[in-house]
């Protein structure tokens, strides 16, 4: 995994609440057996018309969206299916952080494994971000802060382990493998066997 330390970018705003992973990555794209190329499919049903042409005023199709690294979404982003294809698509599009007032548990877990920073902010900051698409913001993983264009900073929750993994580009599988002796011990010592 790439290291993620500091993200500076103009935002793309998708204000809908409860955006589910079926919208982020519709099921027909899940027959892929790799992770690559899902950026073009992200939000497909909202992004393209019946002929497959980009809908000009959809946020991801507006000028500037292609280079953006920060997605601002309505409350409760990423609910529904556990498909990791959703964060794969968002990361492949170019985003490195997603900001909302609440992010669904499985999506959040999946994001952290793919270098996508889940940023939870208070309602007032969220309202401001929704009202100001394209605002230049900074997400700093080391200080766990989001900084707005007027210099105001808010801290967002991120546990120490996830923060370490993002900053160092650490892969969690390596950590689990290093616990091998403890896992052996657990399997031998337990009072019943599954």
């Amino acid at each position: 995994m790439e290291k993620v330390t500091r993200i500076e970018s103009a935002t793309v705003v998708m204000p809908q609440t409860d955006i589910d992973t079926d919208q982020i990555m519709p099921a027909r794209f899940l027959t892929t057996t790799t992770k690559e190329g899902l950026g073009d499919a992200a939000f497909s049903d909202w992004r393209y018309d019946d002929d497959g042409k980009p809908i000009p005023d959809f946020p991801l199709n507006r000028p500037g969206a292609a280079g953006s690294k920060v997605l601002v979404a309505g409350n409760n982003f990423g609910c529904g299916s556990s498909r990791e294809h959703a964060p794969w698509g968002i990361v492949d599009f170019g985003f490195r952080a997603v900001i909302s007032t609440q992010i669904a548990d499985i999506f959040r877990n999946n994001s952290l494994k793919n270098g996508l920073v889940p940023v939870i902010v208070p309602d007032d900051v969220h309202a401001w971000l929704l009202a100001n698409p394209g605002a230049k913001v900074t997400v700093d993983v080391a200080s766990k802060t989001l900084t707005l264009p007027d210099g105001r900073s808010v801290e967002f929750p991120l546990d120490g382990f996830s923060q370490h993994c993002l900053l160092e580009g650490v892969d969690q599988l390596g950590y689990l493998q290093s616990q091998d002796a403890a896992i052996d011990q657990f399997e031998k010592a337990r009072s019943w066997q599954p």
């Binding site: 204000p15 809908q16 609440t17 409860d18 589910d20 079926d22 919208q23 519709p26 099921a27 027909r28 899940l30 027959t31 892929t32 057996t33 790799t34 992770k35 049903d45 309505g74 409350n75 409760n76 609910c79 529904g80 299916s81 556990s82 498909r83 990791e84 964060p87 609440q102 669904a104 548990d105 499985i106 877990n109 999946n110 494994k113 793919n114 546990d159 120490g160 382990f161 370490h164 969690q172 599988l173 950590y175 689990l176 493998q177 616990q179 091998d180 403890a182 896992i183 657990f186 399997e187 337990r190 019943w192 599954p194």
Partner: protein, 469 residues
């Protein structure tokens, strides 16, 4: 010190390395369910790093999501009945299981089916186990008092390689279901009403435990329907304490412990319920005495009303308007009488034998409306067999419904079973998201009885009028 909840007992029993400020807990996983859609990238990681699957014996594999629901007599037929990408994914699943030594419930298996249906059916799902799957409806298995939750493909790789996961301990939430259910109202209606009450994000960060007299009175199949939809309320997992109903359901199933081990297991299981003085981080109550059959009107499972009710008035909320616009429905309109094009009975929520029996009870001696296409898809091949032994298939086909092989089918439309754009489908599945059943498809979630009633009327209808309730 207060007592422990069911969740805490199971969690505690599986800690390999305790949680600290710096590190999440390393949690042991007793059963890993895998299917063709969320595993290819995980097996690739193992291959890249030269790692074996640590416990193939604790891995239960099947094919359900992109799998055809028409017969596939030989693997060669797959390319005729499935899209090339789906066929490729299914073949890759077969190859991966062979290469890594995992037994697969494949096309030849009587137990092939939806992963959350076959786990319980085989008796592999048991109280006190930790279970995961690259699928959010893993919450289904919590009906047995297992701690079961959905994970992503990267974590599927973690479990394949190490049989463990890194986890922070979630919070707990008690859901007290009280009152008495009226005839014609069932588990699906209860869970839809609950999600309507708490919202689709009501349980984020929590493990729910469903409690109370109503839960105790439900069969295992109904308990599974409730736990299945836990994830639609945003919770990590849903659990129900094991009791005699649980033990009776599991007794004699192929993968349960035998002999003295069975007695020991039952004793262990019956000690799992939450202690009387256990503390929950949150509590929610729902009295179901006045509950009517429920249907959704919008594009998430929290947008729900009684079938006899009306869509709420327009408050100007953007998501509400967008949802109604997508559904082609109006604020304030009655649900009854809304025209229906497709009816789907199936999915890990409602595809078990009792669901098929309820559907058949409504359809028996009646005809599916001429403008409706109705699909009935059993949750597993063994359910299909049992249903046929009872003659349920004859009732379905005589009424004009299609009777299929097991799979996820129209629940997510990956295998070619899709609802056409703009068409409205009353579905016994769990998600009414935009496009879930096909591009532009409109979904109304309901119980099997309500779905069957809609099929006959050709429009949304109150099933109680057909079942003498």
């Amino acid at each position: 010190m207060s007592g422990q909840t069911l969740f805490e007992k199971v969690w505690q029993d599986h800690i390999v390395v305790p949680e600290s400020d710096a590190n999440p807990a390393v949690l042991y996983i007793d059963l890993h369910l895998i299917h063709e859609v969320t595993t290819p990238q995980a097996f690739d990681v193992l291959r890249e790093r030269g790692l074996p699957v640590r416990r193939p014996d604790l891995t239960l594999a099947t094919m359900d999501h992109s799998t055809p629901t028409v017969p596939v007599p030989t693997l060669g037929d797959l390319d005729i009945v499935a899209e090339p990408a789906a066929a490729g994914q299914i073949r890759q699943m077969i190859d991966n299981c062979n290469e890594f030594g995992i037994a697969l419930e494949g096309f030849e298996s009587q137990h092939r089916g939806i992963v959350h249906v076959i786990g319980p059916e085989l008796g592999a799902t048991q109280p006190g186990k930790t279970m995961v799957c690259g699928d959010s409806h893993s919450s289904t298995h919590g009906a047995f008092g297992a701690l079961a939750f959905g994970i992503g493909s990267t974590e599927v790789g973690h479990v394949l390689a190490t049989q463990t996961l890194l986890q922070r301990r979630p919070k707990t939430m008690a859901i007290n279901i009280t009152g008495t259910l009226k005839p014609g109202v069932g588990a699906k209606d209860v869970v839809l009403a609950l999600i309507g009450q708490i919202g689709v994000d009501g349980g984020v960060g929590h493990v729910m435990e469903y409690r109370g007299s109503v839960i105790r009175s439900l069969s295992m199949e109904q308990r599974m329907t409730i736990c299945n939809m836990t994830i639609e309320g945003g919770a990590r997992a849903g659990m129900i304490a094991p009791d005699d109903t649980t033990v009776q359901y599991l007794s004699g199933r192929p993968r349960v412990p035998q002999g003295a081990d069975w007695d020991a297991a039952v004793a262990r299981w019956l000690a799992l319920p939450s202690d009387d003085d256990a503390h929950f981080d949150r509590e929610v109550s729902l009295d179901v005495s006045k509950l009517a059959p429920q249907v959704t009107f919008g594009t998430n499972p929290g947008m729900v009303v009684p079938v006899t009710g009306h869509i709420p008035a327009d408050t100007g909320d953007l998501s509400f308007r967008k949802a109604l616009d997508y559904m082609g429905l109006e604020a304030g309109q009655a649900m009854i009488g809304t025209p229906v094009d497709v009816v789907f009975v199936g999915s890990c929520t409602n595809s078990r034998l009792s669901d098929l029996r309820e559907t058949a009870a409504v359809l028996k001696g009646r005809k599916v409306s001429g403008q409706v296409r109705m699909l009935v898809v059993p949750g597993s091949q063994s359910i299909k067999q049992q249903a046929e032994a009872e003659g349920l298939d004859k009732i379905f086909t005589a009424a004009g419904a299609e009777w299929r092989e097991a799979g996820c089918s129209m629940c997510l439309g990956m295998n070619g079973d899709v609802v056409p754009p703009g068409k409205l489908c009353v579905s016994t599945s769990n998600r009414n998201f935009e496009g879930r059943q096909g591009v532009g498809a409109r979904t109304v979630l309901a119980s099997p009885q309500t779905a069957a009633a809609a099929a006959i009327a050709g429009s949304i209808a109150d099933p109680r009028e057909l079942t003498n309730h």
